[in-house]
């Protein structure tokens, strides 16, 4: 079990960090966000050049042939920079297509995903429920899908969707291209680095994703999504702690840096502990995904549960450490707080996720 990064992974991490650092500071992020764009085109182009969309695509399909460990590196960096890109949705959809065993679909779409010319995202959630509805109301009949999906992550600019739907009483995944019969409505979101859409299908052509065991594929999709979101949350969490610690060193009151007061120091020490715990659990999930598929479902769900539990606390602690400046528009703290508050809910509430974990544990 590799809970530490390899030399190659460390090199990859510094290449990703370089791209994000040179894409500009949070001023640029704010410009993109305030313009209402679903994501940062310039940054996404740079990440495409680095091969990011192809991380989870095999070399046979012109990808980098890497795994969730490397995807996690990118997702953490995006969280740390509050960068709006479509990578969360794309990473989930890519992993699921690659895992499905549908060779024809893989041959057709994975090379396009890898070169950055095709954006596919999952469309699972409905109404105000969790991300995997027990009985999807979106239905497929005669090769066409109808119904509405809500909170489709990165769905605004997507060219295709992996739709969870019911056909004749049986659930399945369907590949549906944007176009006639697909109406995408951008949602306003608290966190502008997280773009989401409501997608209404009206008899849109739907192609069933062939797979040997749908239940297994759906559990895998949940674990991948959980790991992707956990990695993204971790990146933001670790960054908020870093900013808070730096401020606690720089800010003086009563003739001392405020970090010398136990009232400031101890909560930050607790978050440093949570950081180490979360990173350990996250690495277990990404490693299991790449090396130990049997343990992956539980490991992925565990990672998200852990990060859901601490992400918001990290952002709020940053605000609290900063004092008054922490709730001004000009400081980035509120951007991190909005990101944490939003991203931790995209796959359902902590209670819903905890119940999913309980089920996966056979409780």
């Amino acid at each position: 079990m590799a809970l530490t990064l390899t030399e190659e992974q460390l090199d990859f991490k510094s290449a990703v960090d370089d791209v994000l650092d040179s894409a500009g500071d949070t001023k640029r992020v704010r410009e993109v966000q305030e313009a209402g764009a679903p994501f940062d085109d310039k940054l996404w182009k740079a990440l495409v050049e680095l091969g990011v969309p192809g991380i989870l695509v095999s070399e046979d399909h012109d990808g980098l042939g890497l795994g969730l460990s490397e995807a996690s590196i990118v997702l953490q960096a995006l969280g740390a920079h509050i960068s709006p890109t479509p990578y969360r949705g794309l990473a989930i959809a890519t992993a699921v297509i690659a895992k499905s065993g549908d060779g024809a679909l893989a041959d057709e779409v994975l090379p396009k995903i890898a070169d950055g010319s095709l954006l596919v995202v999952p469309a699972f959630a409905e109404g105000n429920g969790g991300w995997i509805p027990a009985a999807p109301s979106v239905t497929v009949s005669g090769g066409a899908v109808s119904g509405t999906k809500s909170f489709v992550l990165d769905g605004v600019a997507a060219q295709a969707f992996l739709v969870l739907a019911t056909e004749g009483g049986t659930q399945g995944l369907y590949y549906v291209e944007a176009g006639d019969g697909v109406e995408v409505t951008k949602l306003d979101t608290l966190d502008r680095s997280t773009s989401a859409a409501s997608v209404a299908f009206a008899n849109a052509p739907a192609r069933k994703v062939a797979t040997a065991d749908f239940g297994e594929l759906l559990a895998y999709a949940d674990a991948v999504a959980s790991t992707v979101i956990a990695a993204n949350l971790y990146g933001g969490f670790a960054k908020t702690l870093e900013i808070a610690v730096q401020y606690a060193k720089d800010r003086f009151q009563f003739g001392r840096p405020i970090g010398s007061f136990q009232g400031v120091k101890f909560p930050l020490a607790e978050l440093a502990m949570e950081d180490e715990l979360a990173l350990s659990i996250l690495r277990q999930a990404t490693t299991a995904a790449d090396e130990d598929p049997e343990d992956f479902v539980v490991a992925g769900l565990t990672a998200l549960s852990k990060l859901q539990g601490i992400a918001l606390e990290g952002a709020i602690r940053l605000v609290q450490t900063l004092g008054g400046i922490g709730f001004t528009w000009d400081h980035d703290a509120h951007l991190y707080q909005k990101q944490a508050a939003t991203v931790r809910l995209v796959l359902g509430t902590p209670a819903e996720r905890s119940e999913r974990l309980a089920q996966a544990l056979g409780i």
Binding site: S260, K265, M273, L277
Partner: protein
């Protein structure tokens, strides 16, 4: 499982693991096969077994060969841990001897000290204790008041120590005493190796909230320690103690494994099923949280070990493992009470030889406070993490730089 010819000649960690497993199958009981109370019975059992393990070449794996070790690496140590996880190998008895005293003697000892003490220590012939804390020096260990006075050929030690794990069974101890009262508190300490059976040593077992007696209050009355048993340089006892506490934080903080103890997820789940409570949403949520807690501490420990094996120094991050373990224990006690309800606090027909599940959980509930405190309270750990991991400034220290005799003392 029988040992194969390939495993016999396989020098890889996997080969080592196969040989270890085969030896364990033949020589050691399965974990949980026999239920023993802690205390004398357990110590006697583990002492006999440790000698067998040592003689078979499976003890002190990463220690140098000239002092009784096997001179192997981290892969073999981990292979042994994997193989031994299912067996009733010694765990409690030697945690201080092997986790702290052996490493510090190895780090600071003279050739003579290492040759004299380490082989017996690793074999378990001598059980060692750590003598730092005192009735008036808890979190502020450097404020200790046990004195060592220079006499012909050695030292005379007088004072008291407390919270000393298993001292009632120990042959030897590592003690820190004050050798100079006129310098600042950290600079007047020296570390010695002491004979716990010597004249003037009085060991009093200390009963704790669980009813057990895992710790001791010890009085030293003019106990002679020969000069050749001084471990640290004169006045360098604090540095030695810090190095040793770091071993302790690693050994306490990373000692737990998933499959052990009444607090373990699997055991609590089994108890919840037995009580028919696993359909209740609150119980399901508490069980899921317990699982996440347990994964966090065990994976953190695995990750820190992997980093140590890769040459990344752990340093003060050992305090993170310690704090995480303590907080997990504290939270687990709450969660277990929410999962089991009154079954946690009342039962009938309990005998120590019975299945012991609920009473075991109960004992841990009452005893978990010791893990929040042993090796430094949670607040002490947070101070260390804040200052030495995050680099935040220290609290103002009012006792810094003044002679020990001038520091304010409480009643």
């Amino acid at each position: 499982m029988t040992i194969t010819a390939e495993a016999e000649s396989d020098t890889s960690a996997a080969g080592f693991e196969a040989r270890a497993r085969a030896w364990l199958e033949a020589n050691v009981e399965r974990a949980g096969a026999v239920r023993r109370t802690r205390g004398e019975e357990l110590v006697a059992y583990e002492r006999a077994l440790q000698a067998k393990i040592f003689d078979a070449g499976f003890a002190a794996l990463t220690q140098p060969e000239e002092y009784g070790g096997q001179g192997l690496g981290e892969p073999e140590r981990q292979a042994w841990e994997r193989a031994a996880a299912d067996f009733a190998v010694p765990r409690m008895t030697y945690s201080v001897s092997h986790g702290m005293c052996g490493p510090i003697i190895n780090l600071l000892g003279t050739e003579e000290q290492k040759a004299k003490y380490l082989p017996r220590l690793w074999r378990g012939d001598d059980l060692w204790c750590q003598l730092f804390s005192e009735p008036s020096a808890g979190s502020d260990v450097a404020g200790l008041r046990t004195k060592a006075e220079k006499v012909d050929g050695g030292w005379r030690i007088t004072g008291s120590k407390v919270w000393t794990t298993s001292a009632q069974y120990c042959e030897r101890g590592v003690i820190v005493a004050r050798t100079d009262w006129d310098v600042p508190k950290h600079q007047g300490l020296t570390m010695f190796l002491i004979d716990m059976k010597a004249e003037g040593v009085q060991v009093n077992p200390l009963r704790v909230a669980t009813g057990e007696k895992p710790f001791n209050l010890i009085f030293f009355d003019n106990v002679f320690v020969p000069e050749e048993d001084r471990l640290s340089e004169l006045g360098k006892g604090w540095d030695a103690a810090v190095a040793m506490l770091r071993f302790e934080r690693i050994s306490i903080g990373t000692g737990s494994t998933r499959s052990e103890g009444p607090y373990a997820f699997d055991n609590v789940l089994a108890a919840a099923k037995k009580l028919g409570r696993t359909d209740e949403p609150g119980v399901r949520a508490a069980l899921a949280e317990l699982y996440v807690l347990e994964q966090g501490t065990s994976l953190l420990s695995l990750r820190m070990r992997a980093e140590a094996a890769a040459g990344i120094a752990l340093n003060a991050r050992g305090s993170i493992a310690k704090l995480a373990g303590a907080q997990a224990n504290r939270r687990t006690a709450e969660l277990v009470s929410e999962i089991l309800g009154t079954a946690l606090v009342s039962w009938s027909g309990f005998t120590p030889e019975g299945d012991g599940l609920y009473p075991g959980i109960t004992a841990m509930f009452a005893g978990s406070a010791s893990s929040w405190t042993a090796g430094g309270t949670m607040e002490v750990q947070k101070g260390i993490i804040g200052e030495r991991v995050l680099g935040l400034e220290k609290d103002p220290q009012v006792d810094r730089g003044i002679p020990f005799t001038q520091i304010r003392q409480g009643a």
